[in-house]
Point group: D2
Chain length 344, copies 4
C-alpha cells in the first residue's frame, strides 16, 4: 500500500482526495493536515465522512514524515518550501496548487506576483496532465497538478492543434465552472441566495489560468499560442464545461477531424470522444475522472467548436492527482478511479 | 384601457404575458386562448394565478374578435393566417413566434422549412426591438417580436458594430439560457433529475436564431455580418447571458468604448450599462425587462468581450412585446414594466 | 405620499422592503440606513437595484428624522431604543425584528436572554398579523411584525382552533424554509456547495419562534396551546411551507372543515384557500404576499393536516410589514401588494 | 462472480443497479432488459455510462435465463409472474417493486387494487430490510425490497418502538423526497421550471407506502401501529429525509434514548447514529447506502423527534437490493457498497 499524506485536507480539493483515496485499493492515507482545523477530525468538518474517515488533522511536518507521497492542496505561494522538504527527504510531492505549473518565472511574476525560491525544483517539476505528458510523469518527484480550467480546455483543443488544423491565434475558451471551483472560503458571491438562479462571467480575459492554458497549447504548436479565456460561474456544485472556438486553417470534414481526435486519444481510458450529434454535458462526468469531448464544425464561419466536460474536483483536481500518483508508482493508471458517473 | 387578447396563453410566453398585463395600468386582458386547454381556466394550468386571473381559455377567433391588440405565442408556422385575420380586421398583431422575423424568405425556407403565404404582410411587419427600431414600431400593425437569444446578443454588440470598431466576421455569441426558454412541453432533457446539476450546449452552430441575429447586426454594418452562435442550457428557470466576442478593427480604450455605448443607449431606460469591473449577471435582471451590459477588452488578443444579461421571458419575450404595444399605442414605453428585479 | 424610512436596509428583509416600496403607489422611501454599508449606495450592495434605487445608506437617526413611518429590520435587542425614539417623535414604528413580538417578558427572557427596557412600549405594541388582529393594528404606533414561521403556521391552524375542532395539545408544525430566511450573513451551512442538494432540520424543537406561534394560537383557544415546532432548511431562495398536524376533537367532514376556513377568511385577499385535491406549494406564492392553504383529513388517525405556503420575505416579512402600514395609514390593504406570483 | 440480471434496467432504480453492480467486485451483470428500449444500449439512454456499460437491452426472458439473481425494477403488478418464473427456475428474485411487500392481501387490494396470483410465493417472500430481518433474508429466494420512504421512516422509529418507549398511535412521518423518487416518466410536475424553487406535499395521508411502514413498525410492537404519513417533493435529485414524531410513553433522558438506539444498531455498518446536537442531512448520505439518524426530545410536548436521512436510490432502492443479494450469497454485506458519500 502506498502511504499517502494530504496537506490542506479540509479544503475542497483536499477533501476530495480523502474521498477518492479512501477507496483506492493500493493506497492508504497515513496522515492529513489542516491549518484551520488542526487537532480536529476531518469528519467534524465534513460530516459525510463520519465513521468512514475520522482521522485527526495534524500539521504539515507530521504528514511529510509519515507519508511517501504527499499531496498538497494549498493557496499558491505555500508549496515551494514544502516541495523542498519533500524532495530533500526523497518523497514524491504532488502539488494541486499553482506554484509549479508555469515554466516561465516571468509569467509567474506577472500573474501571481510571486518568485521562484528554489529554481532547481521548478526545473525538475513535471506538469501532470497524463494524456499529454505521461512519459515525463513516470519518473517525476514533483508534480505540478493542473488546475481545472487548464485541464479541460487543452483536452478539447490539443489534438486539433497538434495536427495543425487550427490557428494558434484567435482561439477562445468560454468556460463555465461549478461553485466548488471557488473553494470552501465564504464569500457573498457564493452565499446560496445570491448565487442560486444566477450566472455570470468573472475575471473576464484576465484569469490566472490563461498563461497556463497557453503553455500547454504552445507545447503542441510550432509557435506561441494566445487565447482569450473567459470563465463563468455556474449554479451547480461540480463540473466544468469548456466551449472552445478555434479558426480552421483549412477545410476539413467531420470524419477527418474525428479521426485526428481518435488517433490522438487512442487507448486513453479517461477520454470519451462522443458520437456525432452528441454534446458534452457536465451531468455525465460528475464524480468521475472522465473527460467527455464533443466536436462540432461551423462551416459558415470555418471554425472548430470543441466542447469538453470534466468534474472540476476529480479530473480537474484530486482525480488527476491520483492518476499521476498511479503512474509514478507504476500502477495501472485507472486504479481507484474506475468510477461510474451517476446517471442522475 | 387597451383591450388585449392572448393567443397561446398557456405556453410559457403566453403565461408571462398574462402575468405582466394583469398589472399593466392601461391595458386589460379581454380574452385568452389555448388549443390544449380550451374551456379550462388559466389558473387551473398555472396555480400561481388562482384568484388573480381565472379567465377561461377560448379559441383564437374569439380572441381576435374581442381584442384590439392580439399577442400570439405559438409554434412557428401558425401565425401567418392569424396575422392576416388581424390585419383584415384592423387589429394590431404582435407575434412572439418566428414567422415574421426574417426579412428574407430564402432564409426562412432554409432554417424553418416553411413558406411566406402572405408576402405583403411580411413586407409591412416590423421587427420589434425598440432600442434599435423604435421609429418603425410606432406605426406598425404587425410586430415580429424578437426571440430571447436574438434580443440579448445584438444588444451587446450593435453599438460597437454601428461605430465601426469591430469586424463583421469572426464574431462569436456564446449564449446560456434558462430552461423556460425551452417551453412547457415535456422532454427527457428537461426532466428535473436529468437537467439538474447539468450544463451542456445544444444545436451547436446550427440554431435557428443565427440568421435572425445576423439580420439585426447587419442592419448596423456596411456589409453582411456572420456569426458563430452556440446556445447552452443553464439549470435555472430564467435568464439569458450572451458572452459575445468580436475582433477589434483598431485599438480602442475602455473609455472610448464606454462612450460609444453610452451615447448609443442614451435615454434607454431598459438598458443598464454597468460600471467598469462589474459583470452582467442574470441574477440581477430576473423578472424584469432590463438588459444589463458589461464591457471588457482583451488587449492581448485585441478582442471586445461584450456581455449582456436579460430575463428570457420578459425582455426576451413577453416584456418586450408589451414594450412594443406601449409604443404603438402612444404610451410611455415603461408603462407596466417598471419592475424592480428582486435582489434574491 | 407616505414618507418611509428603512433601518437595516441592506439585510434581506430591508432589501425586500426597498423592492416593494419602490413600486408602492402611495409611499416613497425618504431615507435608508445600514450599519455595515453606511455611506454606500444600496445598489452597490444589491446590483439588481442599479438605476432604480441608488440611495445612499445613512444612519438610523437620519432615517427617524426624515420619515413618518420607520421600518426596522434588525437583529433582536436593537429595536427597543429605536421604538422609544420613534414613539417620542410621534412616528409609526414597524419592527421586523423580535423585540416586541412576545407579550410575556418571561418568555422573552427565556428564549432571547434579553430584557424589556421600556415596558410601556411593549404594552402598546400590536402584533401585526392583519388577518387576525386587523382592528388593533389600525390605531397602532408600534407594530411587532411577525416572523416568517410565525405567520405561516398560525394561518394554517387558527380557523380550526378558533372553531374548537382541534386539540390544544399535540399540535406539530413541521416547517420548511428557503435560505433567505437565514439572512445575508455568511455561514458554512449556507455556502452554496454545502447547502445545494441538501436538506436538514435545525434547532429541532427549540427554535425561538415556538413561543411566538403558541402565543398567537392561544389567543384563539380557551387554554394555553403547546406545539412541537421543527424547522428545516430548503435549498431554494424563498418560501416557507408549514405542514401542521393537529388531533381532531371530533369527527368532521371535509365540507364542514372547508366551511370553517371559508368563513374565517372571508374577504381576505391574501389568503387563498385551495380546492380539494390541491396542495399548497411555495412555487405558487413566491415574490407575492399570498398565503396558500390546503386542507387534508387523515381519517385513519383522526387528524387534521393543514398546509400553508408563503413567501418568507414577503408575507413572512416585508410584504406583511407594508400591509400593516397600509392599515395604519388608512389605505386599501392591498396597495402596492397586488403582485402576481410568477408561474415559473 | 455472481451472475446478475436486471429487468427494467432503464428506469431510475434499474439504472442505479447498473451503476452499483458495475463496480461490485463479486458480481457481474450478464443481461439487462427494458420494454421501452429493447435493442438499444443502456449508454444511449444514460450517457453517463458511455464506454463503461454499453450493454444492449434484451427482453425479460433472456435475463431470467442468463442470470442467477434477477433484480426487477418494474411498476407494481408486473413482478408476480416474473417471480414465479424465477422460482420455478431456481433463481433468486429481488423485487424492487411493490408486489411482494405487503403480507396482507387485503391491504394490497385496498391500496394497489390488485390481487395475489401465486399466494405461495407471497408466503415465502421476505421483506428485505436487512437491519431488521437479516436472518430471514439469508435463505430467501424471493425478496421484497422495501421502497424508499418505507426504509427511512422505520429505521428512525423501530428502536424506540421495540424498546416500548413510544406509543403505537399518534406517530407522524413527515417525509421529504428528492425527485428521482418519482422516476423517469415525464410529468408536468417534474418539468424543471415547474419544480425548481418549489416545494409541496403530495398524496397527503393517502400514499401507498403507509401500510408498508405500518407493517414494519407493527412487527416490533405489541399491537397494530398506525401512522400519519405525508410525503413532500424536494427540488433535489436524491435523498429522503424522514422527520418522525412519536409520543413518549414515559419520561426518558437523551442518554437512555441514545443507549437504546446504540444497542439496537450495534455493528450495523450502514447506520450512522449522529452525535447530540447533530442533525441528519440528505447531503451527507447521497450516492451511498448509509442511513444517518439524529435523535431529539421535545420535553415540552413529551415527544420523540427521530430524523433519518438516506439516498432514496441507494439505501432506498438499488443499494439495499444489493445488500440483500450479498446476504443471500454469503458475502460480506458491505461488498460493493463501501461508498464514501461526497462532501459536496
Amino acid at each position: 500500500m502506498i502511504k499517502v499524506g494530504i496537506i490542506g485536507a479540509t479544503g475542497y480539493a483536499g477533501a476530495e482526495l480523502v474521498r477518492l483515496i479512501t477507496t483506492h485499493p493500493q493506497a492508504e492515507i497515513v496522515a492529513i493536515s489542516s491549518v484551520s482545523f488542526e487537532g480536529q477530525k476531518i469528519s467534524d468538518v465534513y460530516r459525510s465522512y463520519v465513521n468512514i474517515n475520522d482521522m485527526i488533522c495534524e500539521n504539515a511536518d507530521d504528514v511529510v514524515e509519515k507519508a511517501e507521497v504527499i499531496f498538497a492542496a494549498l493557496p499558491h505561494g505555500l508549496s515551494q518550501e514544502l516541495a523542498k522538504k519533500c524532495y530533500d527527504n526523497d518523497k514524491v510531492f504532488i502539488d494541486l496548487g499553482a506554484d509549479f505549473r508555469l515554466k516561465s518565472e516571468e509569467e509567474y511574476k506577472e500573474w501571481y506576483k510571486g518568485e521562484y525560491v528554489h529554481k532547481e525544483l521548478h526545473d525538475m517539476a513535471v506538469y501532470g496532465l497524463p494524456e499529454f505528458y505521461r512519459d515525463k510523469i513516470k519518473g517525476a518527484k514533483i508534480i505540478a497538478n493542473p488546475g481545472c480550467y487548464t485541464t479541460c480546455s487543452p483536452l478539447a483543443l490539443v489534438p486539433a492543434l497538434n495536427a495543425g488544423v487550427i490557428d494558434t491565434k484567435g482561439i477562445i475558451c468560454d468556460c463555465k465552472s461549478g461553485v466548488t471551483g471557488a473553494g470552501r472560503s465564504l464569500s457573498q458571491g457564493n452565499h446560496y441566495p445570491e448565487l442560486n438562479e444566477g450566472f455570470h462571467p468573472y475575471k473576464v480575459a484576465c484569469h490566472r489560468h490563461t498563461p497556463e492554458i497557453e503553455q500547454t497549447l504552445t507545447s503542441f504548436a510550432d509557435e506561441k499560442v494566445t487565447i482569450t479565456f473567459v470563465p463563468h460561474l455556474l449554479p451547480v456544485n461540480r463540473g466544468i464545461l469548456a466551449t472552445c472556438y478555434a479558426p480552421l486553417k483549412k477545410d476539413i470534414t467531420m470524419e477527418e477531424l474525428r479521426k485526428i481526435y481518435q488517433d490522438f486519444y487512442k487507448g486513453e481510458y479517461f477520454i470519451r470522444l462522443l458520437d456525432d450529434g452528441q454534446v458534452a454535458d457536465i451531468h455525465n462526468v460528475k464524480y468521475s475522472n472522465f473527460c467527455d469531448i464533443s466536436l462540432h464544425l461551423d462551416k459558415r464561419a470555418n471554425l472548430l467548436v470543441a466542447v469538453a466536460a470534466i468534474d472540476n474536483m476529480v479530473k480537474g483536481a484530486a482525480g488527476q492527482a491520483i492518476q499521476n500518483m498511479n503512474i509514478i508508482f507504476g500502477l495501472d493508471e485507472k486504479t481507484g478511479l474506475e468510477i461510474v458517473p451517476p446517471a442522475f
